[in-house]
Symmetry: D2
Subunit: 353 residues, 4 copies
């Protein structure tokens, strides 16, 4: 299988996790071990997790520009752990990213660079909150005929004009906002659903998250939109949100580095008013939680682009917090069909070769 | 609605929770508050949780025999909390239970007593491990034409001869072994399923339970069958049980009284081999966890008996750890249909009145 | 023993805990039970915890002004729980407190009111951060010849001019800032000391606090000074503070109401670099933690005033975060001697009566 | 400094931790890093943690006999982790240990072997409960003029005849029973003391331990003596033990391997009866907890033997659960003096060289 050719915008912890992880799975696939720990779907459209080649990278940090991607992922404020994998130079240097003060020229430059690189997909992974940047990179990707994966809550796939641009360009756009691989929201949501299913009445519940990467500094101050999104993530029938407190960032805890710790507390009322209490601590590698989902979105985007799909691809719906038209628009069977389409096309092409 | 007439065998913590809880819901239903906290199904076959009258009780403890049920539930080694409800005398005294050394005479005596009491259902709730007692009480119930709810893992509904006896008697038998209302097994199982669904590889997990009632003394010594049953409860596709340690009773902790505390730990492997860790503490009122399920089984049994159903009733399947023929034999739609049958019959009778 | 005559400035949760708690201990002392749960020192200068009479109260909240103290403590944003005690009207109504725009007139009014009330001590317990208010109430107290207990970090006993004013007035002044009765800082500090004593090297540690009273809203935004104070509280020989993260308020969690939850995590390095990990959750009633210390300070202040002591009283040193001249100025034996002086004087007076 | 020459009886996890740890500290001392993480006392009698040479080893396991010590520590049921250190062959093979059926001949053989090896100290570290074996090895050590460290609760230093034998042989004997480096008992004890010091009344507390090494299998069945010893360890003035539940082994959890997890729960009563709750999880490497103490005992024993001390050495008192005559017999100043004696003698000898 020809490797997926991937460009990245923003060379932060998520991309560090992605780049190192691809090497990790490459190492495992070379051995006899058939297992791929931490992988949801071993093959998507004939692509395995390590069938990825990085062909371009953009960032505005002087600490990263000009470095080989293999070095840039360990530079600046990045603090994802250095995994026990070899990291040979990729031969691809970080180019200056799009800057706010003169985006148009930069967009043209990045468009040209994407074309030259032969990238099939661009992963947009800047810090949360930069709508102008998301729009700029999406514009460049569409212009270059490159698919886009939007990891952030910025509006791209839900922006009709942007979506139209990708459809017109004949390439996929997958967004917005990564659903975490295994995070506090999904655990919290599952436990609340279980409580309800068993007939335990919710009294009070809270969730508080802390971490030691730059996200947790930002979130502490600008957590309101994240809070709403997290409340959305656990919302469900019969849950009164006034019994729920969510704190997206309780604070920046330097010692945790790229780890994230969530505390979840549930107080329920059982038979005859007697109490049910559940206290939980979840610790994850924050950027692994992103990379474990990005790897699926990248493979969906590339596989879809190779068979001429454009716009949003239903297979991606469950991997995103905010797909266009919301989750309700994509049934489980539509998602399954979409995956089968990608796999079948890849197989028939492989048979033809 | 005519109240369900209930007899109980074994006046331990579970029955204390049941009797006090019935008063609790009676109190709430009198008020304006339409909510029934801790109740899975407000109405079953027209019966609400407080539509229960206790008409007979059996126990071998000298500390309980001869006491009014309202007093007996607080006597002996019982340590379920005294809830904040009024507990008027029921007018029903605890009669001597069936003893092992001469069960036949006692079975005849209890059969006669059940008939006189007008009981519609007998709740069998002795300590785990007394197969002879389960058989004896079931024999008496069948002989008296009274339905049976078997709260214990002893074989009754799964014993073909016993099941035949109830069918012959024309009354329901619901068993075996209560599924907990909200317990460590269901939480553990849900989290393992979630881990798997998200593509996190299980590394190791354990569950340990402690409590301060008599069960925890027994279980510490005789926990092997309970361990197997708990492993069953969390077993699922793709879970290798050699990665799972379950300790049904880590020990008897007097200070917890009738509370049960479970510690659950999960270590998973996420993207690129990075760790995912979840630590959880669950605290519940142990006997509330039983009573919250008994109340549904009692109402199913009585509603079913009133419309002439006999043998096992599918509506009960999800409330039991070991229904006859296993859970696989009862689809969700069969369960729903069974509930609808009970409700519809009650409605049409009520319309006829 | 004549009851201590107490005035309060600020009728918030702390005063609710104080007023209700005094009734609680009154109830217990009437019975046969000789134990006083939650009390560090049953008798101070012949005063027991319930030997307290409230004689004046000041607040600026329209929701509280004019109410009897027994009602005001349950009004406004106060959310300390309503304990299971009788709360007869005190006969004392909340008077308007000192306002910032015209403090001088208000100081004169409160001075006069304090004199009329016969108060022996004024407990200053406004929200943290209002230095002008602390100074104004202290001025009024000194002018009225009333002792002062300063519960907040505002400068009073550490302000030489203020201290001089109380010495000149011949009455005690006890401050500043309550040490918590049993809180995260003291637990964290103890565990860090233990780690060190045993030869375990600290790797990283953090502490995060959440709660549902107004303090936690304030602290989330203005937590820097609190953070410094908390770092001080755990500082000790051989502890490098760059391994410590403290978050005084991770956020406001409405569901916790007046409860405070602290999470403490310690990672240490043991023999041969192998890890030691300790995770802890502490839950306390926040304002009980204050009232349990205020009751001792009030008794020290009144007992000291009755025997003519003025300025700071060493018996109070361990109950405050910032006594004048720091903790180093008060040896354990000086503290003990001070308590003995209070007790002996009370005894000799009682013998004389 | 001439290295301490150490023999070991029982080549289990504790010895694996000891042998690997000595290599670990050797590695660190070679570098520039002056810190010794996890070490209570960097130098004892001029001996650093890595100044240890293993000269003889005894075990009855066929899986270990005949192997070089460096291999034997990883064999059989041992499951202490393989640390990231080089483990060159020691040149010392495990010899057959003393067997129960014919101890006398074996004692003679081991005595002879100890003499030939030039060992200065024998570390007795067999599974708990084998008094005959402790006596046999102690007899051999005394006969060979070798000091003894008894890691187990078996009676050796508290057995007057045995103590006399070591005094007669002119060598030290240090025992009985290792105090853990950093374990649940010391943490539990400290928190209970803190609770009391602050005036919080203890309501209920429990401690439960689980682990995945062979000790936890044994303890589950034979935990009564351990329970008593653990209750002793937390006993203190004013603590009513009927409010305390201790479970030394809640069970064997294979997945934890040589790790030990303790859960500690404290419920206290604060001001006005309001609750204080503390929940804690402690995870340690079980055998590191032993080796971190053995290294100090070995150095005390060797340093003491080199200057002609015999019998028990007070410097060891705080490192043992049951020193002869109990802890009360050794004041802190006596312990300090003992350490100073060892250090001073070593210094003067070093100056003389």
């Amino acid at each position: 299988m020809v490797q997926a050719r991937v460009a990245v915008a923003g060379v932060g912890n998520n991309i560090s996790a992605l780049v190192q992880g691809v090497r990790y799975y490459e190492g495992r696939s070379a051995g006899e071990d058939p297992e791929l720990p931490g992988i949801r779907r071993p093959v998507i459209g004939a692509l395995r997790p390590h069938d990825v080649e990085f062909v371009a990278a953009y960032d505005v940090s002087p600490a990263k520009i000009g470095l080989d991607v293999a070095d840039a992922i360990l530079a600046g404020k990045n603090n994802y752990p250095r995994l026990d994998v070899t990291l040979p130079a990729t031969g691809v240097c970080v180019e200056p990213g799009i800057r706010e003060h003169d985006p148009d020229a930069d967009v043209r430059r990045v468009t040209e660079s994407l074309r030259r690189s032969g990238a099939e997909v661009l992963v947009y992974s800047l810090p949360t909150g930069l709508q102008w940047a998301a729009t700029a990179y999406a514009t460049a990707a569409a212009a270059a005929g490159v698919a886009l994966v939007n990891c952030t809550p910025e509006l791209v796939s839900r922006d009709q004009r942007m979506l139209d641009a990708f459809v017109a360009a004949g390439v996929p756009v997958l967004g917005d906002d990564l659903a975490s691989h295994f995070g506090a929201s999904i655990v919290h949501r599952s436990l609340l659903a279980l409580l309800r299913e068993r007939g335990i009445t919710l009294d009070q519940t809270y969730q508080i998250n802390i971490g030691g990467n730059e996200d947790f500094r930002n979130l502490r101050e600008h957590g309101e939109s994240k809070k709403a999104s997290k409340l959305n993530a656990i919302a469900q029938d019969g849950l009164s949100l006034d019994r729920v407190d969510i704190i997206p960032s309780g604070g920046y805890v330097a010692g945790l580095r790229d780890q994230k710790v969530a505390y979840v507390s549930l107080d329920g009322i059982g038979w005859a008013g007697t109490p049910v209490n559940l206290e939980l601590r979840l610790r994850v590698q924050d950027s692994s939680n992103a990379a474990g989902v990005i790897i699926d979105l990248v493979r969906i985007a590339v596989a879809a682009r190779r068979i001429g799909l454009k716009g949003f691809v239903p297979a991606a719906a469950a991997l995103l917090k905010s797909p266009p038209d919301g989750h309700g628009a994509y049934s489980q069977s539509a998602v399954n069909t979409s995956f089968e389409e990608l796999d079948a096309a890849a197989e028939s092409r492989s048979a033809a070769e």
